[in-house]
C-alpha cells in the first residue's frame, strides 16, 4: 500500500529527539533543548494530522469499510519458517486516531513544559525522556503484532518510570517510580504469558492473523484453543484474561491501580501526558485491538466489563475525598478509564451493538483533551502556588483568569455538560450500557454524577471558596504555558461534535450515531445536581463538608485512605510474600545455592592444603613420585589390564 511512507517519520522524529537530546543535550544545548523537542513534535503532529486526513478522507475507505493498511513491515527475527517476529506499522481507524491524540497531546505538553520546566537543571534530559515516551507510545499504537506491542509497551513503562522519578532527589519520587515500575511489571508478566498463549494457539503474533485464526469457529486453531483448558477455563479465556491483566496494570484498573496516584510525584506536564491522556489508556487500546477475540469469548469480556465498572465507581468515590489536587485528578483518570473499559465490555461486534466500542474510543479521544487540559491547568496552578494541597489554594480566579476559564471548560467537559466534548462520549457510553443491562447503566449513572461532584469540588476549592492569602503571588504563566491551555480548551469544547462513529467503529464500517435527546436528560440532570452540591459545599467556606464527612463516618475515612489498598498491598507483600516466600528463598539461596558453591570452594581449598606438601621443591621427592607413577602404570597395563 503506497502513500503511507511518512508514517515512518511520525515514529522516528520523536526518537531522533530522544537520541539527540539524550546524548548531546545537556552539554551543547541545554537551553534550546525545548525548542528542538517542540519543533520535532510539531512535525510529528503535522504528519499524523495529514496521515489522518489521508486515511479517513482520501483513500482509507474502500467499499464502505476502512482498510487495515500495513504501511511498513519487515521480518525482524525468524525463529523457524512459520514463526517470526515482524516489525511493522499497522494503520486502521483506531491507530490513526491514536496517532493524532498522542502526537497532539505530546506537542501540547512539550510546549507547556517550555515554561513549566524553565531553568531546570536537567532540562534537556527531561525533553529527551519526553521524546522517548512519545516514540514508544506512537510505536505502541501502530504495532502490527503482539510482540512489537509488548516491546513498545515496556519502553513506555520505562520512560514512565524515568519521568516519574525525574526529581530523583526526592525519596518519595524514587519510591513512586519504583512502585509504578514494579506494579506494571508484575502485570506485564501476565501480559507476556497471555501473548505466548495467544501466539501458540493463534499460530502467529500478527494481530490480524491471530484474530482471523481464533475468531473463525471452524478453524483448527479455534478448536484447539477452546478445547484445551486449565482449571476448568479454556486456554483462549486464560490467554485473553492474562493479556487483559497487562492492560489493567498499565491502565491502573483495580486492583493494580495503586501506582497511579503515587505517579503524580512526576512533573505535572508529565502527568498530563503519560498518566492522563496517553499511556494509561494503552490498556483500553490493547483490549480494543484484540476486541474481536474478547467479543467472541464471553467470559473474558465479562471480566473486562466488571473490572472497568468497579474501577470507575471505586475511583470516583475515592476522588471525592482526596485533598491533593493531582491525586483527585489521578483518581478521576482511573474512573474515566474504567468508563472506557466497561464501554468495551458492553459492546457487541456488529453495527448498532458495537456502539460501546465506538463510545469507548470516542471517550478515549475526548478524555485525552480535557484530562490533559485539567492536568496542565493544575500544573499552572501548582507552578505558582508551590503546593498540591487544596487548603493552600482558593480564590485564584482573580489571579489566574485564563487558567480559571480553561479549567472550568475542562470540568464541564468531564462532568458531561452539553455541549462540551465529554457530554457526547459519555452519552454514548451510557446508551451502550443501557442497551446492555440496567444494572450497569445505574452504576455508570451514579459514577457520572459523582464525577461532576468531585470535579467541581476541585474547581471551587481552587478558584473560589476563599480569598487567596498565600505567600507567593500567583499569576498567569508565560506565553508557552498559555497557548496549550487555550488550544486544549478549544478542543475540549469542540471535539464532541465530530461524528465519531463515521470513523471508528467495531467492524470498520462508518455508522451514524443517533442522538437521543430524551435519553440524555437524566445524566445531564444528575451532572447538574452534582455540580450544585459541590457549589453548596465548596463555593464558600463553611462547615458543610465536615458535617457531610461525619455523616458518612467510617465510610468517609475508608475512602479518604483509598480503602486501605496500599496497606493491604503492604500487608500482602511484607507479611505474606516476604515472610513466607522471600525469606525461605533467601535462606535457600544463602544456604543451599551459595552453600554448595562455598562447599566446593572449601573442598578445593582443603584438597589443595592437603596436597600442597607434595609440591615441596625437593627434587628427589619429585623423582620418587615419578618412579612410583611409572611403577603404577607398569602394574596397571602389564599385569592388570593385560
Amino acid at each position: 500500500m503506497g502513500g503511507y511512507e511518512h508514517t515512518f517519520w511520525i515514529l522516528f522524529l520523536p526518537a531522533i529527539s530522544f537520541v539527540l537530546l539524550g546524548l548531546l543535550g545537556r552539554k551543547y544545548f541545554n537551553k534550546s533543548a525545548g525548542l528542538i523537542g517542540v519543533f520535532l513534535l510539531l512535525l510529528t503532529t503535522a504528519l499524523s494530522l495529514y496521515n489522518a486526513y489521508q486515511y479517513f478522507f482520501v483513500n482509507g475507505l474502500v467499499d464502505g469499510v476502512y482498510l487495515k493498511i500495513d504501511a511498513f513491515k519487515f521480518t525482524w527475527l525468524t525463529f523457524s519458517p512459520g514463526v517470526s517476529i515482524d516489525m511493522g506499522i499497522l494503520l486502521d481507524p483506531i491507530s490513526v486516531m491514536m496517532l493524532v491524540v498522542v502526537s497532539s497531546v505530546s506537542l501540547m505538553v512539550h510546549i507547556f513544559s517550555l515554561g513549566y520546566m524553565k531553568g531546570e537543571e536537567r532540562f534537556a534530559t527531561y525533553y529527551s525522556f519526553l521524546g522517548l515516551f512519545t516514540f514508544a507510545m506512537l510505536g505502541l499504537v501502530v504495532s502490527s503484532n503482539l510482540f512489537q506491542m509488548y516491546m513498545f509497551w515496556e519502553l513506555v513503562g520505562i520512560s514512565s518510570y524515568l519521568l516519574i522519578g525525574f526529581y530523583f532527589q526526592r525519596p518519595s519520587a524514587v519510591a513512586a517510580s519504583k512502585k509504578a515500575f514494579i506494579v506494571t511489571r508484575f502485570a506485564d508478566l501476565g501480559f507476556l504469558i497471555g501473548i505466548l498463549m495467544l501466539a501458540f494457539y493463534g499460530g502467529s503474533l500478527d494481530f490480524n492473523t491471530i484474530i482471523q485464526h481464533l475468531s473463525a469457529h471452524q478453524s483448527s486453531e479455534y478448536l484447539a484453543a477452546t478445547t484445551a483448558s486449565f482449571l476448568g477455563v479454556t486456554a483462549l479465556t486464560w490467554g485473553l484474561t492474562l493479556v487483559f491483566m497487562g492492560g489493567a496494570g498499565k491502565s491502573a484498573m483495580f486492583p493494580l491501580h495503586v501506582w497511579l496516584p503515587d505517579a503524580m510525584e512526576g512533573p505535572t506536564p508529565v502527568s498530563a501526558l503519560i498518566h492522563a491522556a496517553t499511556m494509561v489508556v494503552a490498556g483500553v487500546y490493547l483490549v480494543a485491538r484484540l476486541f474481536p477475540l474478547y467479543a467472541l469469548n464471553g467470559a473474558s469480556l465479562e471480566i473486562v466489563l466488571n473490572v472497568g465498572l468497579f474501577t470507575a465507581l471505586f475511583a470516583a468515590i475515592i476522588a471525592c475525598t482526596q485533598t491533593d489536587i493531582k491525586r483527585v485528578l489521578a483518581y478521576s483518570t482511573m474512573s474515566q478509564i474504567g468508563f472506557m473499559m466497561f464501554a468495551l465490555g458492553v459492546s457487541g461486534t456488529q453495527g448498532e451493538q458495537g456502539l460501546g466500542y465506538t463510545a469507548s474510543m470516542f471517550h478515549l479521544f475526548t478524555h485525552a483533551f480535557f484530562k490533559s487540559l485539567l492536568f496542565l491547568g493544575a500544573g499552572a496552578v501548582i507552578h505558582f502556588v508551590h503546593s498540591n494541597e487544596m487548603k493552600d489554594m482558593g480564590g485564584l480566579r482573580k489571579w489566574m483568569p485564563l487558567t480559571h476559564v480553561v479549567f472550568l471548560v475542562a470540568c464541564l467537559a468531564i462532568a458531561g455538560i452539553p455541549p462540551f466534548a465529554g457530554f457526547f462520549s459519555k452519552e454514548e457510553i451510557l446508551l451502550a450500557s443501557y442497551n446492555k443491562s440496567l444494572w450497569v447503566y445505574t452504576i455508570a449513572l451514579i459514577t457520572s454524577g459523582l464525577t461532576a461532584f468531585y470535579m467541581f469540588r476541585l474547581y471551587f476549592s481552587i478558584f473560589w471558596r476563599k480569598e487567596y492569602n498565600g505567600h507567593s503571588h500567583p499569576q498567569e504563566g508565560s506565553m508557552s504555558m498559555k497557548i496549550p491551555l487555550i488550544i486544549l480548551a478549544i478542543c475540549s469544547a469542540l471535539v464532541g461534535f465530530i461524528p465519531f462513529g463515521k470513523f471508528v467503529s467495531v467492524d470498520s464500517q462508518p455508522q451514524e450515531t443517533h442522538f437521543h435527546l430524551m435519553f440524555s436528560i437524566l445524566p445531564v440532570i444528575l451532572g447538574v445536581v452534582g455540580i450544585l452540591i459541590a457549589l453548596l459545599m465548596y463555593k464558600k467556606e463553611n462547615d458543610r463538608p465536615q458535617s457531610m464527612a461525619k455523616a458518612f463516618g467510617s465510610f468517609y475515612r475508608a475512602a479518604k485512605n483509598k480503602f486501605y489498598m496500599d496497606e493491604l498491598y503492604l500487608f500482602v507483600t511484607k507479611n505474606i510474600i516476604f515472610k513466607w516466600v522471600g525469606r525461605p528463598s533467601a535462606w535457600f539461596d544463602r544456604k543451599v545455592v551459595d552453600g554448595s558453591m562455598n562447599e566446593i570452594a572449601n573442598l578445593t581449598l582443603e584438597t589443595s592444603k592437603a596436597i600442597k606438601g607434595m609440591q615441596s621443591g625437593k627434587i628427589q621427592r619429585y623423582a620418587m613420585y615419578f618412579f612410583g607413577g611409572i611403577a603404577f602404570l607398569i602394574i596397571l597395563f602389564v599385569y592388570i589390564l593385560k
Binding site: G617, K618, I619, Q620, A623, M624, F627
Partner: protein, 102 residues
Amino acid sequence: MIPVSHILFLSATLFFIGMYGFVTRKNLITMLMALELMLNSVNINFVAFNKYLYPGKLDGIFFTIFIIAVAAAEAAVAISIIINLYRMHKTIDVGAATELKH
C-alpha cells in the same frame, strides 16, 4: 650364548642403582652422576634390542647416539647451573636451591 634377558637384567640393575643414587645423594654433582648411570642403562637396552631382536635395522643405534648427544648437552647445562649455584650459595647441596619455591 647369552640370552637378551640377561642383558636386560644388567641394565635394569644398573638403572635402579642409578635411581638409588639419585634419591639418596645430597650433592648435585653426584646426583648428576647417578643420572648418567640411568641414561647408560637405557642405552644398553637400545643396543641390545637392536642387536638381538632387529639386527637388520639401525633404530636402536641411532637412539643411542641421540641419547648420548642429549646427555652431553644436558650434562653441560647441568654443570653450568651447578657452578652458577655454587657461586651464589657457596654450596651445591640440593636443599640450598630454594629460590623457585617462593
